[in-house]
C-alpha cells in the first residue's frame, strides 16, 4: 500500500499538504489540490485508518458484543437495522470476540484497547458487572431494552406495556377471560413493563389475574414449550396465552398441537416481536409488532450523534408497538365445549 509519503514525493509536495487535501482543508491552492488528488488516484492511495486513529484518538468503529446466538431472530433483525444505519456513516461495526480462556477478560478493556468510538449493547443483564464498568468508562453507549442511563449512555426500547395491553384487549374482545401470560424474566425493565401491561390490561377489562396463569421462563422455543406444558396440566387451563416472544409462542403452539388441541380453535396464542418467523410459521402468528430494525438504526444514529458531540445527552426513545392479528387468535368457543 502506498503511504502518504509516497504520495507526497510523487506529487512533489509535503506530507502535511497531502494530509490537508485528504481532509479537505481549505488552505490549499486549487493547483496543488488537483495535483495531489491525481496522485492519490494514480497510486490508489487510501489513508491508513489505524494511523489516523492513533493521532485522533478514534477508530471510526462501533463495538458490539453478541452474547446470544446470531440465529436469534431478534438479534438478527437488530443487526440488520444496525447495518443499514452504518451504511455511509463512515463507521464500521467491530464485533468483539470474547475470550473465555481469560477469567480476567473485560469487555470494557477490550473496547478500550480497540479504541472503539462507541458501543451498542443488547441482551445485557442489568446486574452484569461489565455493564457497570462500561457506564463508568465514558465510552458512548446505546443500550437496547435496558433501562439504564449514564453520563454517556442512553437506551432505546419499545412500547412494551401498551403492546401487551393491546394483546390482552384483543383477546378480551374475542371473549377470553382465562388469559395466561408467558414471559421471560421479570427482573428487568422489559419484563416488568410487559407484566404491568398484562395486569393493567386484565384490570381494564374487569378480568382477574390468576397467579397460576403467569409463567416465567426464557424467551426461547423451549421456554415457551415448558410454560405451556405446565399450563396444560392445570385443572382449568387458559383459553388464551400471551407470550413475550415469537419463539415462545411457537414453542407453546407446538406443545398445544402435540397434546391434541388446536390453535386457535382451542387455545389462542399471541407472540411478541413480529419477527420473520411469525409470518412463516403455520399457523401465522398473531403477535405484537416491534420495529426492531428501526430500533437498531435509531440506536446507531443516536450513538453516532453522541460520539460526534460530547455534550449530546440523548433522551430515551420508545418505539411504538402494535398488534398484528393473524391466525393464532379466535373467538372463544362456547363454554360448554370446554
Amino acid at each position: 500500500m502506498a503511504s502518504i509519503h509516497d504520495v507526497a514525493k510523487e506529487a512533489g509536495v509535503s506530507v502535511a499538504t497531502v494530509s490537508k487535501v485528504i481532509n479537505n482543508y481549505p488552505d490549499v491552492s486549487d493547483k496543488t489540490r488537483k495535483k495531489v488528488s491525481q496522485t492519490i488516484k494514480k497510486l490508489k492511495y487510501h489513508p491508513n485508518v489505524a494511523a489516523r486513529g492513533l493521532v485522533k484518538g478514534r477508530s471510526w468503529t462501533v463495538g458490539v458484543f453478541v452474547t446470544t446466538s446470531f440465529t436469534n431472530p431478534f438479534v438478527t433483525e437488530l443487526l440488520e437495522g444496525i447495518k443499514t444505519a452504518l451504511q455511509n456513516s463512515g463507521y464500521d461495526l467491530l464485533h468483539l470476540s470474547t475470550r473465555f480462556d481469560d477469567p480476567t477478560y473485560s469487555f470494557v478493556e477490550h473496547c478500550l484497547s480497540r479504541n472503539v468510538d462507541g458501543v451498542v449493547g443488547f441482551g445485557i443483564d442489568r446486574n452484569d458487572p461489565h455493564l457497570e464498568e462500561l457506564l463508568d468508562s465514558d465510552i458512548p453507549t446505546m443500550l437496547v431494552d435496558s433501562d439504564i442511563q449514564g453520563r454517556r449512555a442512553a437506551y432505546i426500547t419499545t412500547e412494551n406495556k401498551t403492546g401487551i395491553m393491546q394483546a390482552v384487549a384483543h383477546l378480551a374482545e374475542l371473549g377470553h377471560s382465562r388469559i395466561s401470560f408467558v414471559s421471560g424474566e421479570l427482573d428487568n425493565a422489559v419484563g416488568q413493563l410487559r407484566h404491568e401491561g398484562y395486569v393493567e390490561g386484565m384490570k381494564s377489562h374487569k378480568l382477574s389475574v390468576n397467579p397460576a396463569y403467569v409463567k416465567i421462563s426464557d424467551y426461547s422455543m423451549e421456554g415457551g414449550a415448558q410454560a405451556m406444558t405446565e399450563l396444560l396440566e392445570l385443572e382449568e387451563r387458559p383459553t388464551a396465552v400471551v407470550c413475550t416472544s415469537d419463539m415462545m409462542a411457537i414453542g407453546a403452539i407446538n406443545v398445544i398441537h402435540r397434546s391434541g388441541l388446536s390453535v386457535p380453535e382451542d387455545i389462542s396464542v399471541i407472540g411478541f416481536d413480529n419477527t420473520y418467523y411469525s409470518e412463516i410459521f403455520s399457523p401465522a402468528l398473531t403477535t405484537v409488532n416491534q420495529n426492531i430494525r428501526s430500533i437498531g438504526s435509531h440506536a446507531i444514529e443516536t450513538l453516532i450523534a453522541m460520539i460526534e458531540n460530547a455534550d449530546f445527552t440523548p433522551s430515551v426513545v420508545t418505539e411504538p408497538s402494535n398488534l398484528v392479528v393473524r391466525c393464532t387468535t379466535a373467538q372463544l368457543r362456547d363454554k360448554s365445549a370446554l
Copy 2:
C-alpha cells in the same frame, strides 16, 4: 487510558522493557517482569491495538462484508460458526459497512485502509469485480461456496452434488418419477454441482429429466413460490420437488397449500441447508443438511492459518452433506389418484 509510557514511568523502567514483558520476551529479569506486571495491573493498562498494529502492519481483525440480509438463515448460521471460531483467537470480526454514496467504493480498498489481516467472503458473485481485486490484493481470503482460488485465497463448500443425489434417491425410492428441481442461479459452482447431482441422480434411477421441471429462481421464499406457481400450471405437474434452499422449499409449500393441494400427500418437497427454519416450519422440512456452522468455523481456522503462515496454501475443504427426512416427503400416491 494509561499508555506504555505511564507504565514505564510508574515502574521505573523504559518503555522498551514494558513492551518486552507485554510480549513475553525472555530477556527480562524475573524481578523487572514482576514489577512491570504489577504496574500494568495497577494502572489497568491495555496495549492500544491500533498502535501495535501500525508498527506490525497488522490489525488482528478479520473483515467480512455482509451483502445479504442478516435475517438470511444461511448467513446467520455461518456467522455463528465464525463467531465461535473467533473466540479466543485474538482476532475480532470487522463488519465492513458499504458506502453506497460513493460510486468508486472499493471493498478491497476498504480492507486495505482498515488493514484487515484476512477476509471471509460469501454470497459473492464470481464475476464481481470486487472479487478479482480481492484476489489480486494478496489479502488472505477464505470464500464460502465460491470455487475460486488464488495465491492467498481458498474456499470451503459442501458436498452439493451428493447432497442432491441423496434427495433424488430418496424420492425415487418413494416411487416418484416426476421430480422437479427448483434451484438458484446455475452460473456458479454451487448451482452447477447441485444441478449435476439432480441430473445424475435421475439417471442413476433411470428417470428422465424433463426440462420443464427445472426451474431457476433465487434462493428466497419468493423465489420458491414463483417457481412452484409455474410448476403447478404445467399440464402434468411434478409429484415431487427438490429445492436448493429451505426458504425456497417453504415458499413452494405455501404455494402448494394455497392451491388446495397438500404436502406431502399430493406433492413431496425437499429443502436444502437444514437451517433452523426447516425444523420450526410445519410440516417440518425434509432437507439436505449442510454443516453451515462448521463451514463458518473452518473458514476462520483456515484463514487464521493463512494469516499466520505466509507459505500456507490451504486445500479446498468440502464438508459432508446428508439428507434429513422429516415430514414433507411421502410415498407416491396411486397413479389413478393424480
